[in-house]
Structure formats: structure tokens, C-alpha cells
């Protein structure tokens, strides 16, 4: 069975996981992957064929009036300052 570094995965997924839960997940995640790994025995080419379903985009035209939704969307943000979404420091000291 594949060795899984769950703590590294959690870091990649930006997910804080407690030590207790990490111990539990270190058992569960390899079990789930062991279960899904069975497809590797199927003869199917994992190519890059175009999928049957694809997104159909609208024409990039007729934009709505500027600012129409700004207030609504800003008000959903947990923190705002001067009509902008406020965020914590991005670059660490």
C-alpha cells in the first residue's frame, strides 16, 4: 500500500488537523486509497482525450452595470476596509 504523508497533504490542502485526528486519518486515508486503487488493474488508457462534457461559455458581452453587485459581495466578506476585502499579511516576516 502507498505510504501517505497525511500531515503534508493537510499542509497542501491548507487544512489544520489536530494530532488526534491525524492519527485517525493516517489509518483511514490509506484504507480509502487501497479501496480505489483497484481501478489500476483495468485496461483503460489514462490519456488526455477531450471529455464528453465540456463547458460552454457565454459570449463575453453585455456586462452588467459596474458596481451593481459590489456592495452585496463585499458584505459577505468577514472583514472589509475602505470598500475592499481585508486580508491578513501575505508575506511573512
Amino acid at each position: 500500500m502507498t505510504q501517505i504523508d497525511v500531515a503534508a497533504l493537510a499542509k497542501l490542502a491548507k487544512l489544520e488537523v489536530s494530532a488526534d485526528e491525524l492519527a485517525k486519518l493516517e489509518k483511514e486515508i490509506p484504507e480509502i486509497l487501497g479501496f480505489v486503487e483497484t481501478i489500476q488493474a483495468v485496461a483503460a488508457e489514462a490519456g488526455h482525450k477531450s471529455p464528453v462534457h465540456r463547458n460552454i461559455m457565454r459570449e463575453d458581452a453585455n456586462p452588467h452595470e459596474t458596481g451593481l453587485h459590489t456592495r452585496t459581495l463585499l458584505d459577505a466578506a468577514p472583514a472589509q476596509k475602505d470598500d475592499q476585502v481585508a486580508v491578513k499579511q501575505v508575506i511573512s516576516k
Partner: protein, 472 residues
């Protein structure tokens, strides 16, 4: 009025004949909710005042003769479908206080018809699970036996309809989330062809699998609800234009049964109820024949790669910055990690981690891309089968509703989705109709009969489903 006997179509007639008003009907449901829902917990929130206002408006429309099929019909809405100004939480702490900033397209359509919104229903958090036990706000109980789960993820919607707490409900189905809870609660659930009902305003779980659909008392009501919510929508980039929706061909009255899939893991009593329904269909003039779907055995493994992969991507948007729970921390990375760590429940965290793994560099070919290739084989198996049969029949779930807390192992829980997930992988429609029951602890637990159709085969499924209802 007897709520247990009422359907959308019978209520429509009674409302139009002024036997009762939409307000009286709504009050009857609100009274039943007040009486019974503290035990069932189908609803996360009941909109008593606005429902009564909507009912008054519907009565005015009825008085003027401006009537649509759902005018004055009280319905429940799954908590992952947006209604402007209302909290929509996906049963998650992450969105406990989130208010929707717009209406989902299905809601716009129902509002235009004058439907009444009773409240939002409980579900597995972010539509991940199979029992509604993964709600951050406590489980829903099965109205048939309150010691048991209602199924999931649309467990609140199914329990509301089965428990006479709504006349119909909207659910969403990613791997069986409309059909399995409908089977467990003894109601009808329809998963529509991918792309026929707009996903605009449905919180994304796994975008290539998600579809909104109805949960109703019978197949006639499912048809009415489907007609109300289906249609092309420019706001959903996977919505199918009307001109590619091919109508179902004439019924040959042939039903295929994938025998090999039924050989192991199906509860003997569930299998007996399934065989009885097949016998009833033969009596009704159908030919029932065995078919081979060799790649369907891989469906669960494929599903439990594709689903977590898409879930981990979609749920990346919950970062504590734009909306939802935000846990204060020193720097932005810690805000992300703490908000997500505290906002998401255990099953959501498991899926995000599995999804992150199967998409990670070095593993994506062996897991995610391989799963996509096998998914194409599953789709092709079904397409070939539909050249010879109108529909494919299976039990909706291999087992009846289990007891609350009985299944704690994730892989055991996933195995219960064996008959429902191939449908979402192929994007085809499927219907669960109650047919028979199994006795457990002195209770008759409902069994669902699943009919899978070709793309755009909903009409045929509803016709065959009506024959199953007649026989049951």
C-alpha cells in the same frame, strides 16, 4: 385535508376548486412541522412568516385564475440551494451564517410559479455522505423508524416529504443523494440527466456529477416538479441547450437487469423485494432480460476518486476571506488553515485530503486520470445497454436504512452507493420508486426500485415507474 394522502396534483385540484386555500394548506404543514419536526429534524430552519405571505400571494393568483402547476404548493429546499437573503449553510459550520446573495435558477423558476418555501432541509455537510449524520447541526431521523437514518445526502428533504412536513422537496444528487434517501424514506426521487436542470446557485460539491432534482410522493408529482425546474440556463456553463435534448424513443417495454452486480453484497430481503417488482413488471407486459455491464463493478472506485478530486477543488473557495467562517490568525496562511480546519467537519476533511492526494503531482496519472478513463468505459457500457433496453433496473440501495451511528467506517459507508454512483458517472437519469419493504425490529422499512434510463430518458422512466407504483 389529510396531508398523508395529498399529492401535488390532488392539492392542485383542491386549491383550484377552492376546497381549501393555499394559506390553509401552508398552515396545515406548519402545524405538522411544529408537532413532528422536533423529533425528525428534517428542517434546519422553517420560514413560517414568509411562507404564510407567499401563500396569501398564491391565493390571490388562484382567485385571478393565474395558476401554474406549483402555485400555492408548499415545498422544502435542501440547504445547499441558494435563496436570496436566506441563510444557506450546506449543513456546515463554515456557512452557518452565510446569506445567499442571489436566487438559484431553480428557485427563480419556482418563485415564478408561485410555489411556497417552507424552509431549508438538513443534509450531509456539503453533500458528502449517505445518511445525513454528517450534518454539523445533528442528524435527521427516518420518519418510518426514528432509530434509523433517513439516508443522504438529501435526508432532510426525503424525511420532510415522507413525514408529511412538505408536499414535495428539492434535493441534489452527486452519487445517489436524491435516490438513496428517497428509497430509505419510501418516497420518489428523480435524478435528472446531467445538464438538464441548471446548477446555478447550487453549492458545488463535485461539478461533473451534481444535479438538482425533485423528491415527491409519487411519479406524477416528480414529473410536475421536473418540468418546473428543467431548462437551458446561460448561467450554467454545463447546461444543455434545448436543441440537443433528444426526446425518448418509443418504449419497447424491455428492462435490463445487470445480474452480476446483484450477486454479492445485497441484503437477501432487499433482493426478494426487487425480484417481486420484476415479476410485477413482467405481469404488466414488460420483458425483463439479463444484461452485462462489465465495467460497472469499478464504479465505486472511480467515484471515490473523481468525487474527492472535484470536492477538494471546489471547496478551496472556503478560505475565510470572501465569505463564511473566518478564524482570526497572525498571517493569511494561518487564517486559511484555521478557518478550514474549524469550519469543515470530519467527512469533508477526509474527502479534501483524498482529493488532494489523487490530484497531486506524481499520483494524478495513476488515480485521477485513470479514473476518468474508466469512467468513459462505464458510460460506454450503459450506452451500449440502452441500444437493447428501455431502462436498467437495480435496487436503489443494497441495504435498507441502517441505525443511527451504526456505520462509522468510511469505506463501509461508501459501499452502500454501489447502484447509484454509475448513474452520475455516466450523466444519465435515474428514478427511485418505493416498491415493497423489509421487516426490521417490527417496522416495515421501505425498499427503493431504481430505474436507470438513457440520456433524456426521464419520460420513459416516469412511465415505467408509474407501472411499478400501480403494482406495489
Amino acid at each position: 385535508m389529510d396531508l398523508s394522502k395529498l399529492t401535488i396534483s390532488s392539492a392542485r385540484k383542491a386549491l383550484d376548486a377552492k376546497e381549501f386555500t393555499a394559506l390553509e394548506l401552508t398552515d396545515a404543514y406548519l402545524a405538522e412541522i411544529e408537532k413532528r419536526d422536533p423529533e425528525i429534524h428534517a428542517y434546519l430552519e422553517v420560514w413560517k412568516d414568509s411562507a404564510r405571505e407567499e401563500a396569501k400571494a398564491a391565493d390571490e393568483r388562484i382567485a385571478k385564475g393565474d395558476v401554474k402547476p406549483l402555485t400555492g404548493i408548499p415545498i422544502a429546499v435542501k440547504d445547499n440551494i441558494l435563496i436570496k437573503g436566506r441563510i444557506a449553510s450546506s449543513a456546515s459550520k463554515m456557512l452557518e451564517n452565510y446569506r445567499a446573495s442571489y436566487d438559484a435558477t431553480v428557485i427563480t423558476k419556482l418563485k415564478e410559479q408561485g410555489a411556497i418555501f417552507l424552509g431549508r432541509t438538513n443534509m450531509d455537510e456539503f453533500a458528502l455522505g449517505g445518511s445525513t449524520e454528517n450534518s454539523a447541526f445533528g442528524p435527521t431521523k427516518n420518519p418510518i423508524d426514528t432509530a434509523r437514518v433517513p439516508g443522504g445526502t438529501s435526508g432532510g428533504s426525503s424525511a420532510a416529504v415522507a413525514g408529511n412536513l412538505a408536499l414535495a422537496a428539492l434535493g441534489s444528487d452527486t452519487g445517489g443523494s436524491i435516490r438513496q434517501p428517497s428509497a430509505f424514506c419510501g418516497v420518489v426521487g428523480l435524478k435528472t440527466t446531467y445538464g438538464t436542470v441548471s446548477r446555478f446557485g447550487l453549492m458545488a460539491a463535485a461539478s461533473s456529477l451534481d444535479q438538482i432534482g425533485p423528491i415527491t410522493k409519487n411519479t406524477e408529482d416528480a414529473r410536475i416538479m421536473r418540468e418546473a425546474i428543467a431548462g437551458y440556463d446561460a448561467n450554467d456553463s454545463t447546461s444543455l441547450p434545448e436543441n440537443v435534448r433528444t426526446a425518448a424513443k418509443n418504449l419497447k417495454k424491455v428492462i435490463g437487469v445487470p445480474r452480476a452486480l446483484l450477486e454479492k453484497g445485497v441484503d437477501p430481503d432487499v433482493l426478494a423485494a426487487f425480484e417481486k417488482t420484476l415479476t410485477d413488471l413482467r405481469t404488466a407486459g414488460y420483458e425483463v432480460r439479463d444484461i452485462e455491464l462489465p465495467n460497472l463493478a469499478h464504479s465505486l472506485a472511480v467515484y471515490y476518486i473523481i468525487n474527492p478530486a472535484e470536492v477538494s477543488t471546489n471547496l478551496a473557495r472556503y478560505d475565510g476571506i470572501r465569505y463564511g467562517l473566518s478564524v482570526p490568525a497572525e498571517d493569511i496562511s494561518s487564517v486559511y488553515e484555521k478557518s478550514r480546519g474549524q469550519g469543515f467537519g470530519p467527512e469533508v476533511r477526509r474527502r479534501i485530503l483524498v482529493g488532494t492526494f489523487v490530484l497531486s503531482s506524481g499520483y494524478a496519472d495513476a488515480y485521477y486520470r485513470k479514473a476518468r478513463a474508466v469512467r468513459a468505459l462505464i458510460r460506454s457500457d450503459l450506452e451500449k445497454a440502452f441500444e437493447g433496453v428501455d431502462a436498467i433496473a437495480t435496487p436503489t440501495s443494497p441495504i435498507p436504512a441502517w441505525k443511527l451511528g451504526e456505520k462509522s467506517d468510511p469505506v463501509a459507508m461508501y459501499a452502500a452507493d454501489i447502484f447509484t454512483v454509475p448513474v452520475n458517472l455516466a450523466g444519465v437519469p435515474a428514478l427511485s420508486v418505493p416498491s415493497g419493504s423489509v421487516q426490521r425490529d417490527g417496522k416495515a422499512l421501505p425498499v427503493g426500485f431504481q430505474l436507470i434510463g438513457p440520456h433524456h430518458g426521464e419520460d420513459a422512466l416516469l412511465m415505467i415507474g408509474a407501472d411499478v407504483e400501480k403494482a406495489a
